[in-house]
Subunit: 332 residues, 2 copies
Amino acid sequence: MRITALAGGVGGARFLRGLLHGMATGLVPEADVTVIGNTGDDIWVHGLRVCPDLDTVMYTLGGGISEERGWGREAETFTAKDELAAYGVEPAWFGLGDRDIATHLVRTQSLNSGYALSDVTAALCARWQPGVTLLPMSDQRAETHVIVDDPSGACDDLGNPMQIAIHFQEWWIRWRASIPAHGFTVIGMEDARPAPGVLEAIESADLILFPPSNPIVSIGTILQVSGVREAIIRTAAPVIGVSPIIGGRPVHGMADACLQAVGIDTTAEAVARNYGSDLLDGWLVDTSDSDVVSKVESLGIQCVAVPLLMSDLDATAAMAARAIDLANLTRA
Amino acid sequence: MRITALAGGVGGARFLRGLLHGMATGLVPEADVTVIGNTGDDIWVHGLRVCPDLDTVMYTLGGGISEERGWGREAETFTAKDELAAYGVEPAWFGLGDRDIATHLVRTQSLNSGYALSDVTAALCARWQPGVTLLPMSDQRAETHVIVDDPSGACDDLGNPMQIAIHFQEWWIRWRASIPAHGFTVIGMEDARPAPGVLEAIESADLILFPPSNPIVSIGTILQVSGVREAIIRTAAPVIGVSPIIGGRPVHGMADACLQAVGIDTTAEAVARNYGSDLLDGWLVDTSDSDVVSKVESLGIQCVAVPLLMSDLDATAAMAARAIDLANLTRA
């Protein structure tokens, strides 16, 4: 079996780790897994190319992630970050760990030498052996920006707040998504092509998974890459999503702020509706959201309620198994 | 008074610290000090621009140096270096500290943004406040390479060892200068111009100092920059050198290997002879080398024997004071 998953950061990475754990323990059938990672929140920081979502997947599946934070390396230190702050260089709010810096140095030097991000990602994975084929959604730079009222309070001649676009990472980390977002724009997306292997991984998949990643700025961004949405709609393989919303709250991160920005309710049903039945064949919601099952099914999307809290590896593997069960149901 | 010093790394930096200490304690008259730093051992490592000698001067005079090593930062950690090794990327032999990396990141990003090394050096010094004006010898890349027999043992058709040029840092750090050098070549030197302020600092100086830096690959390299040697010969200011050789051995580092490579004896006299009386007006040797005083004087260079071991700040300040005494003698 071939499984292709779209993934953002922490939520997606943890789900995928559960999927692999399920395979290792026999709960889930063996499969070749390809992960198409979001690169919309990539950023140049202090001259380093940082790919937070790719690294979160790579570190999580490769055994190097900080369990406590969910991002970055275990046993991390932040010496260089403190030194950069002592030089007074911006951004001071980005969490650049000393271990992590090595990854960024290898990546940046390779990119500057002319290698594509997909090549560099494969080279980094040669060390981490994540157990999946990890592909960036695109080798081109396409970075999510957030439309916000200028945090400095600047207004136009009529006294209306000036809107500016700030990098997603600035909104997410510096402002903790606390500034209301008017929307998102992915700068460079019009020229972004799927990275080598991305469309093939969708077309050849027996199952496509949307893990509980951010539906707007993670999976939503991947779906904007030219041809990706169309390939997923076209494929005969079942497309199964796992709700990132449980009981009206995001499982991880601040997806509610993203959903709010684009006018979508923070509910498991609204997220399924946003993906739509042209993309989704099946949708897993948490048992606490079992009241939405019939509403989702009325959209033409098969839906089951199962425990979705990724409390440990076994629980997460069980979730992955239920996603595969649901895929089989949709095939029937 | 205006003092201009040429400097390499550890030896030069420690002497300069003593000079400033002498000023602070009244042992040496107040002066504006400009340091022309060797950039011949600069290197690109993992995509970072590293300037070992400039940083050694900056950290030493700015209070950030590791006293134990003499180079790099105090309380340094090497987490990123270990991680780079885990990725298997070369060079693994370069000591890239986590604190130090911040300096290199700021420098590299600024250089890549189009700033000149002299501008970047000034910006870094805004944090460190070294108490001197620190100038790179040149804004152009000019890197010392060492001609050695190929360490792999490769031979030509006649069975003679193949000679190759390796970067000075590779010879110095990786091979600990243990491979015999046939000579040095500074790649890029033909296009290197003095950095802004370098010639002016020589021309306007009341005193020019050659600290006990490596006479071949530190001060010797600075002297190769177009116009520098000529400006020093031309100036009316006394030029006073401090022997880096005491009792036939280098005070610090492996200057003997460099001297040997260019056929110069490792003696205080031979180093003075190599600089020559067209450059030097005065030469300080250690009291243990007092037998060479008359030989150096026969070269037309005034010479005195004084204690040259930089055992502490006061001893080093006393050395600097004796250098200034000797300058006054040459003026008389």
